[in-house]
Amino acid sequence: MSETITAPGDAPARVPGKPGGRRRPPRGRKVLPYLLLLPALIAELAIHVIPMLVGAWMSLLHLTQFFIRNWTAAPYGGLTNYRVAMDLNGPVGKDLLHSFFVTVAVTVLVVSGAWLFGLAGSVLLDRPFRGRGALRTLFLVPYALPVFTAVITWRFMFQRDNGMVNTVLSDELHIQHGHPFWLLGGNSFAALVIINIWRLWPFAFLTLTAGLQSIPGDLHEAAAIDGAGFLRRLRSVTLPLLRPVNRVLLLVLFLWTFNDFNTAYILFDLPPTSADVISIHIYNASFITWNFGLGSAMSVLLLAFLLVVTLGYLGTGRLRRRYA
């Protein structure tokens, strides 16, 4: 494809003696970048932006089962759906708030757990030793595994009677008594956190390994010669230098965990209250009561929250500065 396209483009440039052509930016130069952006722009508009706006519009409608066949005829409800979703005395608002707190708790535990594991793994594997390459490869496997195969395996392990987790904890190690449920009741929260850490820590590991590799080795040498111990070096050399990496890494982990739908969906079908994370809560709120307007309103609230957190975290205008 390159041959046919570049050929006509090259032709005039090879003609010598037209130096003036480069002095003022020609019109093509102004249009070209926009043309190049076009495919990405169309794709993002079509799949993300426009549907999001439609979703925001739907949140203002009483879009119930009576109108799903012809949803444009659904009556306009103004902010009613938002009022229902945010009425903390009503059952809908109360459940949404509960689900929000569950999600926050899951996110805090998963992000910090994944980050700590990733840091430990990457720092401890920074020094060469026998078997380092093999361990590095092994640690990445959970991240490479498709979500649904990973979670379905965990689901198999967390079964009450025949699951591996209960067999090991109760019958072999005798750490716990009897066979508790992992996929029902309070333990399901722990199950969700464990699985998410398992899936995400390799990503933290990978990113931090990449970050460590860009730290010049002589900095460590110098610190070591100064007599700084391992922990000192970690605190005063490694961590400060990893700060830019961490900034991005923590944000990405946060967004992934907070928006995660797949794990809870595959693990529970319908999550128990204690593991009722927000994206699946909204999904069920829409489909169970067939009230898609209300579901949309909840999604918009979720997006608003994520926007505020992300912008607050990045400091407004940071992205603009880079690309202005």
Partner: protein
């Protein structure tokens, strides 16, 4: 320089073209000479459904020249798929639905009404057993569906375990609880009753039945009454098997798939289970002989509380309907007529272990067993139709999930008393009100 711009444009265009070429377009959905039929999962697996329906649909093709594209959809996906088809107008021509959803789906306006002229094309009203037509749409309106498979709840019991314990099939609910306690020997991992604790549909059905025994009305003038004292008592009657009487293996709280339950029943892990008639086939597939288990109507409270009704099943079953968007309405109706014809009813219901919806089919000896007779009696004497109102599907999901949650709580050791039940039902009730 201009040429460069053009080159870039060409590049973008090629990319766009490449993009459009990505993936391979879908197939053409429907044409007048073919029909798409979404069947529900009636057999032991989706494959079995395909194997059973395939040859029958070939017969239909031979008869009418219409080719039927069959898709069998599992229960967890069926309602959402129908909703998606409804909102998009991109659906099948003919579809099976759980009969309790009939009024809810009717309200979307996406289904062809079976008014007198239309129902005449599938054999007329008189073709069907009258009770089965009560759950085909809201009262006072032409039904949106016609029945295809009939079902009813019954109490299945293990004859050997009953003989060992020296008990007879229970006549009253109180007997059932007493018997269950006699059968429960946790040390031997043997329990009185088995249940599909994680199935919200089962939960909602039992909430309805036992609520009715206690005198509850689910909806009064369109207003939900999920948290009335009668409903609380009804839900308690069911959940208490696990929570208070402890005659259910807590593991059952994880069960969502009947295969788990049927397997345990066939192995003698528990003595009784309340399940719909289709289980007859599944139990035998799991290696239990027909002579080793029996079926009686689910016993009701005796005496019934004030206002209580003798309900031991809802009028369960599967309906079949035609999407208004079909390009071949006559063909679609022909298919409905074909599948509900006595011959097909005998074949299909016989294989799946369901009850025919047309009286003629019962001439066949395979429907003259004592089990089938029990289910026929249940439908005739102690079955009530779930309220045929648009909000019914939400009742099933909301109350069903509440029951599921309560069972999970009980199984994991939390106290499930009247107050806990009442609180959860009140929440469901309020969600129903704010959802509508």
């Amino acid at each position: 320089m201009k040429a460069r711009g053009i080159a870039a444009l060409a590049a973008s265009a090629m990319l766009a073209a490449g993009l459009a070429a990505c993936g391979s377009g879908g197939d053409n959905k429907s044409s007048p000479k073919t029909l798409t039929y979404w069947a529900s999962n009636q057999g032991r697996s989706i494959q079995q459904d395909q194997q059973v329906l395939g040859p029958e649909l070939k017969k239909f093709e031979a008869k009418t020249g219409i080719k039927v594209k069959l898709e069998v959809i599992g229960w967890p996906d069926l309602l959402n798929r129908i909703l998606a088809a409804t909102s998009s107008g991109q659906g099948p021509d003919v579809v099976n639905v759980g009969n309790t959803w009939s009024a809810s789906l009717q309200a979307t306006g996406a289904f062809q009404a079976f008014d007198d002229a239309t129902i005449a094309k599938v054999g007329g009203k008189a073709k069907f057993i009258p009770s089965t037509l009560t759950s085909a749409g809201a009262p006072g309106k032409p039904p949106a569906f016609v029945p295809i498979y009939g079902l009813a709840y019954g109490l299945f019991y293990n004859k050997k375990l009953f003989a060992d314990a020296g008990i007879k099939p229970p006549q009253t609910w109180q007997d059932l609880v007493t018997d269950a306690k006699k059968l429960t020997v946790p040390a031997k991992k043997q329990y009185g009753v088995g249940m599909l604790g994680a199935s919200y549909t089962e939960g909602s059905h039992f909430a309805f039945m036992f609520g009715a025994q206690n005198g509850a009305k689910l909806f009064d003038g369109g207003q939900p009454g999920f948290d009335s004292p009668q409903m609380v008592a009804g839900v308690k009657q069911y959940v208490n098997l696990l929570a208070g009487d402890k005659v259910v293996d807590p593991t059952d709280a994880e069960y969502v798939n009947d295969s788990d339950l049927l397997k345990d029943f066939a192995k003698g892990r528990f003595g009784m289970m309340m399940i719909q008639s289709y289980a007859t086939a599944g139990i035998q597939e799991n290696g239990m002989k027909a002579s080793e288990f029996g079926v009686v109507p689910i016993p009701v409270l005796n005496p019934l509380p004030a206002g209580g009704r003798k309900v031991s099943s809802h009028v369960a079953g599967i309906n079949i309907g035609v999407f208004k968007n079909t390009k071949n309405k006559d063909g679609a109706l022909k298919l409905v007529d074909f599948l509900t014809s006595p011959d097909e009813q005998k074949i299909l219901n016989g294989t799946f272990g369901d009850l025919p919806v047309v009286p003629e089919a019962y001439n066949d000896p395979k429907f003259q067993t004592p089990e089938i007779q029990t289910f026929k009696d249940v439908l005739a004497n102690s079955a009530e139709t779930l309220p045929m109102i648009p909000q019914e599907a939400q009742f099933e999901t909301l109350v069903g999930n509440t029951v599921k949650q309560l069972i999970a709580d009980a199984a994991s050791g939390k106290t499930v008393d009247d107050q806990a039940i009442k609180n959860q039902l009140t929440a469901a009730n309020k969600k129903m009100q704010s959802g509508g």
